[in-house]
Symmetry: C2
């Protein structure tokens, strides 16, 4: 696919961003490309457009599919696989958060629980340390539960909430005050 200057810039920047957040450059670039593309692309088109190896595209697409950020589709009369991505930014964001939660936060909660339990049993671990670990655990658990509730809300409602911003705190304050 042909990339105009601004599109290229977007894709490159998105690659950098991905890298800073623990996703490989290629994966992020491919996602950005699919996001801008007017139609599903084949792996080869992607490789050509971004100048990366065909095999790299294959691997990266698999990873994107694992994140739920790319889906394979077929075009009538074409034997090749084509790929596209969600275009709704809110849905994209929710998927990313969901995945990171599943892959990192949830396992961390498990580990922290064990740490806290062991720390409480172990007489040589200072009480303070155990309490601090517990504080981190509780924090993550709270945020996790919050997210599970919020993720179900339809994007427009989420948008409304975000637009309201801190004023939500006042609503809530009044309700309880």
């Amino acid at each position: 696919m042909d990339l105009t200057r601004p599109m290229e810039r977007y894709v490159v920047h998105w690659g950098e961003m991905g890298a800073r957040w623990g996703v490989s450059r290629s994966v992020a670039q491919i996602h950005a490309l699919l996001y801008l593309a007017p139609r599903p692309l084949t792996a080869e088109e992607i490789a050509d457009t971004l100048s990366i190896a065909r095999s790299n595209v294959s691997t990266s697409l698999k990873e994107l599919q694992g994140w739920g950020l790319a889906t394979m589709v077929h075009v009538l009369g074409d034997r090749r696989d084509h790929f596209e991505t969600e275009k709704d930014v809110w849905k994209i964001a929710l998927k990313i958060v969901e995945q990171r939660k599943q892959r990192e936060i949830d396992p961390t909660l498990g580990t922290l629980e064990q740490c806290v339990r062991e720390a409480e049993e172990d007489p040589s671990t200072p009480r303070d340390a155990a309490e601090r670990m517990a504080a981190v655990h509780d924090f993550l658990a709270n945020v996790s539960v919050w997210y599970d509730q919020v993720k179900g809300l339809p994007p427009p409602v989420l948008q409304k909430l975000v637009r309201l911003g801190a004023r939500v705190a006042q609503f809530v304050g009044r309700k309880r005050g």
Copy 2:
């Protein structure tokens, strides 16, 4: 400093987590260590405890200070620098988010603005593509403004909001409905 088994496990896990989120292992481990430590530690103690080079500790501490996650303090009668970290998990979280916003989101907003502007001027860039870039920009801008409002709320209020979870949406819905 002596690390008991559970503490060691905590520190190691936190190191892994850091690595997955774009912070070097050492930096994350040092932060975890300072978080658990009962008193400010010297760079040398940190190096010994974590078995990493003294110079690495120096660099990492500087980075942590840059994030606002470690502060230098002095102990009476001791010439060496000692380091400690915030113990309130909410405050730690807010600092991290604040920094990532400043370092990554804000510059990204700038880039996206330019991309969108150029894309609108450039006749060879499809209208669709320009609109999609704009959608990402607007999304990030919204979240950014939201965060700026929310970060000022005192941690206890934030906690309350998180505990309320999705029910906040209903409050808001009723208020407007």
